[in-house]
């Protein structure tokens, strides 16, 4: 990774000198570039250049001061700022708030309500229960076939009685 970083470092140091003024001309055309150049005056441009380099330099100096020269300084600053430091260090707890507000309800809701609740509790349960119900019904019906001749005779008699009752009922209905 050092190689690419070196190229990027070199470019960020001297990239400003690469003449790219005409780079965007195919998109914006000559007129607009010229107009933009007129509005931003040369002196303002120079001031902004120095300000940005100055800010960068200040950053480098602060980093050198805090993490090289006086290594105990960051801890002291942190201690003196107290809870404010903690809040900033935790990025104003944005991640935690987001996790509590959105991620946790979504993950738990999907797990408990949708997956275990609807998918397994309702849909799958209905399918499996219908299979269990069919098995129980068949199990109950199976006992009719006991191998016992007297019970078979009973079933035949019962069947005959049902048929006779049906015929009588039909006759009465007519």
């Amino acid at each position: 990774m050092t190689g690419p970083l070196m190229i990027l470092a070199l470019l960020s140091a001297v990239g400003g000198f690469i003449p790219v003024e005409h780079f965007l001309e195919p998109v914006f055309g000559h007129g607009e570039v010229a107009a933009a150049a007129e509005t931003a005056s040369a002196s303002l441009e120079t001031t902004l250049k120095f300000v940005s380099v100055g800010v960068a330099g200040l950053g480098i100096f602060l980093a050198w001061l805090l993490y090289y020269k006086h290594r105990d300084l960051p801890q002291k600053i942190a201690d003196s700022l107290g809870s404010f430091y903690q809040t900033v260090a935790h990025k104003y707890y944005i991640d935690e708030i987001y996790a509590a507000l959105f991620v946790k309800p979504l993950v738990e809701g999907s797990t408990d309500i949708l997956w275990h609740g609807v998918d397994q509790g309702v849909i799958d349960a209905a399918v499996n229960d219908s299979a269990v119900g069919a098995r129980h019904a068949s199990d109950a019906a199976r006992h009719m076939q006991s191998g016992n001749l007297r019970s078979y005779a009973g079933w035949v008699a019962a069947g005959g009685a049902v048929v006779i009752a049906y015929m009588i009922w039909m006759g009465v209905a007519r």
């Binding site: 993950v107 997956w115 609807v118 849909i123 799958d124």
Partner: protein, 503 residues
Amino acid sequence: MNNLDSSILSLVTFIPAAGALLLMLIPRRDRDIRIFALIISLLTFCLSLYLPAYFHRTQVGFHYEVNQQWVTSPNIHYHMGLDGISLWLVLLTTFLTPLCVLISWKSIHERVKEFFILLLVLETAMIGVFLALDLFLFYFFWESTLIPMALLIGVYGHGRKIYAAVKFFLFTMIASVFMLAALLWLYAKTGSFDFVTIQNAIHSGRVPGFEAAAPWLFLGFFVAFAVKVPLFPLHTWLPDAHVEAPTAGSVLLAGVMLKMGTYGMLRFNLGLFPEQSRSNAPWIMILALIGIIYGALVAMVQPNMKKVIAYSSVSHLGFVVLGIFSFTQAGLDGAMFVMLAHGVATGGLFMLAGILYERKHTYEIKDMGGLATPMPTYATFFLVVVLASVGLPLLNGFVGEFLVLAGAFQNRPVYGILGATGVIWSACYLLWMYQRVFYGKVTHPENNSLPDLDAREQLALWPAVIAAVVMGVAPLLWLNIIDPAVATALVPFAQVASKVVGQ
């Protein structure tokens, strides 16, 4: 007119079955059997390339038709034909099968011969489903996909494989009985099983009693297809079947078999019952939207990689149904494209999950972690396929989802808006899974010694990755053929709309 034109469909359909027959005669030397199965599946793929090569985009109707009497009484024909809707689905099948053979090379140790016989029989049945134009022939192929797939799951699966196989079989079998009833009604009234004949009879109003029966016929077909898709709330067989199935079974189940359902909706529900399709569309689209969001949310919290991918299929196939029942050109084009893209991307994901299973013998996400360190090539392949599935622009998932959402938005803006959240959800669950499996430090020391992909595994994955990129960059190669076919399928809907306006 080419000599092959009249026989190409039969060749593509039955060469795998003929290969399976020959395979029975080959002695049980596993290596020979694998090589033979690979050759047969590659031969089928090469032959199927003939289909787009000689496809005339301007020709309306079916290509390469074969129509011969099969049974005189009842009047059943061997009627096969191909249009822009079925063309790419056939190619998807022939494309995925050789990859399935490659990915099963080492993971299947026992009953190798039977495994590859089942795989090839399954390929024939699936191609037949997409090509059959006789409703009885269609039903024949439709049901014959069930047996090899149930055996693949029940014999070669893991865990609760029998439970999963029986559940898969019963769900799809029971649902397709309703379709059989609808088929028989149509035959009784028209005296023909032929799709084109019945379609013409219905459109010209020559079927007695059709007005009263149509809502039920529509539902009969729809239930059979909705279970296969699977549409919420008929989806619970899918995660179980996927988790227990062997890798090749999962790839073909997600890659091709689910599309048999959406293909059926497009061909038969829209083709035979345009008015019922339109009147039933609102609740179907709502179920599709529930499927998109519900499937994604449940996918997000699954602890098992294969279950994540299985529920993601519920979500993605929701997009397909949403597109189909939007009755817009964009929606139907998109639905077709999502079918293909999902076949490639999800097929790839299941192959990748299977590769990991061969090494770890588990799919549990908590047993992974930091795998990018020991397996960098694997992690790269996985990321490309995950991004394709998420729908990153320039990869194949994006094109279809975008078109579907455009179509849904045209139909009713709120459908488009709700559907669009599905794109965000898919990024949530897939990238979160990717993060937990691959990033960070290796959490289980034994994972440090996991071997990276070998040459055979890369050979199986490269085609899927290349297809994902090419389909994303040049979707017009596919859409140019899909578009006219979809426009033909939409013609009756323009008429229905004008009828409504005319009143």
